[in-house]
Symmetry: C3
Amino acid sequence: MKLVIAIVHDEDAHGLIKMLTASEFGVTKLASTGGFLKSGNTTLLIGVQKERVDSVLSIIEETCKTRKEITTTTSLMGDNSVMGMPLEITVGGATVFVVDVEKYLKL
Amino acid sequence: MKLVIAIVHDEDAHGLIKMLTASEFGVTKLASTGGFLKSGNTTLLIGVQKERVDSVLSIIEETCKTRKEITTTTSLMGDNSVMGMPLEITVGGATVFVVDVEKYLKL
Amino acid sequence: MKLVIAIVHDEDAHGLIKMLTASEFGVTKLASTGGFLKSGNTTLLIGVQKERVDSVLSIIEETCKTRKEITTTTSLMGDNSVMGMPLEITVGGATVFVVDVEKYLKL
Ligand code: NI
Ligand code: NI
Ligand code: NI
């Protein structure tokens, strides 16, 4: 048995929990925030048999990978019209630790 | 030294912390919720010398084991009387991971 | 790779996160409270290469060590004057677990 501790961005947490649950992995969601200047992280605990660790890691990778997204900022112009500007931002990313479990109990 | 990570139902958490504290185990309570469709879980971190792990597990087992309880639902009858109906529900349950601690520091 | 799980007092958490971040350690802050009669703890997860574990432990030790502080209590006297009384209190303290990480993923 292994314990996967995954720290993901809040916006990816819901989708990831959905994907993991669909594959019948048990997930526990801890509230968390990032460090000093970061914010909005969620920590997940996922208990998993060692043969299925890679399957969990693939799902996390797929759901949370760092990726570019286009958002639109709007600016007020001098003539009072509003101009939309496409802006590329980076979202996603995750930090994942896999830890050995010596004893596992399911009551 | 071992670290016991116990995910228990909210309604069992208070009693479990009380029992563990009475046996002089140090307990830290993390807020948590279950996965996609579950809710109301509490995660506890319990640092414990390896000789006492089984004692912690027994306390968790005793306090949190899955069990049937009778609750009473009330229904409004056609003649405006209220009828109480006994309903058997399953409560309790826990997921417990024991992890090895390489270094332990108490400041 | 190692995972440092540090349970510190709330009042030390901010300073500790600042110090760890300044030394470029990644820190995730979990909300937590102590057990039965304790309150106001913060749990931090710090992923760290094994060569740098001692450096993390030193920072925690320095920032969170148990120490005496003088606080002032004020009492209302019989003549309606207020008297300040110096009171020595113990603050700080931390519980730290270092756990081995079998697999580490940074997406
Ligand atoms: Ni990120
Ligand atoms: Ni349950
Ligand atoms: Ni303390």
